[in-house]
């Protein structure tokens, strides 16, 4: 299943990728991040703490104008994301004043 993923600038720089990429992934947060790390090993540890597997505090996941950050990582993503009509957006939360 091809899922569109939008990366923030710091991670595009690290992965040397375009702003938006397409991934074959299970349509869950965990599935998307697993596939992302598989294709771009440089992103390992940047979204989830390697020791705990927890989402980093200032990383947010948005799609379909919803904040999905606090959803279970195994909950199915919205159908529009799973079907490739909407992008799964990874955001560095506004911070720093």
């Amino acid at each position: 299943m091809s899922i569109r993923v939008v990366l923030p600038a710091h991670l595009r720089q690290l992965a040397r990728s375009e702003k938006e990429i397409s991934l074959d992934a299970e349509p869950t947060q965990r599935g998307v991040i697993d596939a992302l790390e598989q294709r771009y090993p440089a992103l390992r540890g940047t979204l989830r703490d390697p020791a705990t597997g927890q989402r980093r505090a200032f990383v947010r996941f948005y799609a379909c104008e919803q904040d999905l950050s606090h959803e279970s990582p195994d909950r199915p993503l919205p159908a529009a994301v799973a079907q490739g009509n909407e992008a799964f957006r990874i955001i560095g939360a506004m911070a720093g004043g």
Partner: protein, 370 residues
């Protein structure tokens, strides 16, 4: 010898400054890893084209980047600094216990002889080793598991292992410094460690001569005198001549013995440099004058070096990893400031000139002599 390469880590990226051996005209390359906090950049003495950098940030954590072409291009390597055993607990600022938790790499220390061997000091304090050029990291867990671990407490910057001193000929001996636990030494390659803080006095802790709990800011060693260690402690400049077994104060006539970095001349093991800072609450130089102090007697007697440095209205800080020396015949000395200046002296500190003035706040300065 054909020149020098100065590796600068800043709050918003890394910069590579290069010059020929006259050290008058500089090329500035960067920012690399723009937007990332780069606590340290260090080159391999065994292969100067190999350089590691430690960019981190509040959003996306820690990455490690490696260059194999002298800092022109970089590739990410391993960034998994998972502790090798259950993390345990250390003191928190309020006296409660808090689990050990990785937050960033403070310092990278490449081997002098093996281009694939590099050590990393991290926060919360632990020492990691990579023998594959940084692709994978393994904790030397005997340090964190030292019985005094639950007594370690963070300094203002966190519970960080910020200094790693490798013995020039004995690979089993490593000395590290942790804020605010103190200095520890292994003589068996990192399996076991013991605190070596005898002689340190810290008024800010309940027992000033305690075995652990000292806020050591930086250590340095001349490779020709591996048993002599110099220390900038939170307050006090110190020296040991028996590999850290005993320490004595050498602050002498310094205008303040608070500071962060300490460096030793490349060819004169008794010539030492510090940058006095007013106090732990005033993180700027005394009297608004940026002065490096040099002792040519191994401490106790210090002279201010001011030629080329601002002597009025200067209120920058110089952080613990932000001073280094080159090994050219006329030793060069370099330091960076929180105001974004990197100053260089090509005459052992007699005179200074800024290489750059307007970088982001400088976190670290290292020098490669090419």
């Amino acid at each position: 010898m054909s020149g020098v390469r100065v590796l600068v880590g800043t709050r918003k990226g890394a910069f590579v400054l290069t010059s020929d051996d006259r050290r008058r005209d500089w090329q500035v390359n960067g920012p690399h890893f723009a937007g990332w906090e780069v606590y340290h950049v260090a080159g391999s003495p065994a292969d100067p084209d190999r350089i590691w950098a430690a960019p981190s940030g509040g959003w996306f954590g820690q990455v490690i980047q490696r260059s194999d072409d002298g800092g022109r291009t970089w590739d990410p390597v391993g960034n998994d600094f998972s502790y090798a055993s259950p993390a345990g607990e250390h003191q928190w600022y309020d006296g409660t216990l808090r689990p050990w938790e990785f937050s960033r790499v403070w310092h990278l220390e490449p081997s002098a002889t093996d281009r694939d061997l590099v050590y990393a000091g991290i926060q919360d304090a632990a020492l990691f080793r990579s023998s594959d050029g940084g692709e994978s990291w393994h904790e030397l867990r005997g340090l964190r598991e030292h019985g005094s671990g639950p007594e370690w407490q963070p300094g203002a910057g966190g519970l960080c292992l910020h200094t790693i001193v490798l013995h020039p000929s004995d690979p089993d001996r490593i000395v590290v410094a942790i804020s605010a636990a103190g200095v520890f030494r292994t003589d068996d390659g990192g399996a076991t460690w013991r605190p070596i803080n005898q002689g340190l006095l810290s008024e800010g802790i309940p027992s000033p001569a305690a075995e652990v709990g000292h806020c050591v800011h930086n250590l340095t060693m001349h490779p020709a005198r591996p048993n002599t260690l110099y220390m900038q402690k939170h307050w006090d400049v110190m020296r040991s001549d028996d590999a850290g077994e005993h320490w004595r104060e050498i602050s002498g006539n310094l205008p303040s013995d608070f500071g962060f970095p300490i460096a030793v001349h490349a060819h004169e093991p008794e010539t030492v440099y510090v940058v006095p800072i007013t106090s732990d609450s005033h993180h700027f130089p005394p009297d608004g004058k940026l002065r490096v102090y040099r002792s040519r007697t191994g401490g106790d007697e210090w002279d201010a070096l001011t030629d080329g440095l601002p002597q009025q209205n200067c209120y920058v800080d110089v952080l613990r990893d932000a001073m280094a020396v080159d090994t050219l015949d006329q030793c060069g000395v370099y330091f960076g400031t929180t105001g974004g200046q990197v100053y260089a002296s090509s005459d052992s500190g007699d005179s200074w000139m800024p290489i750059v003035r307007d970088l982001p706040a400088v976190l670290s300065v290292e020098v490669q002599t090419l």
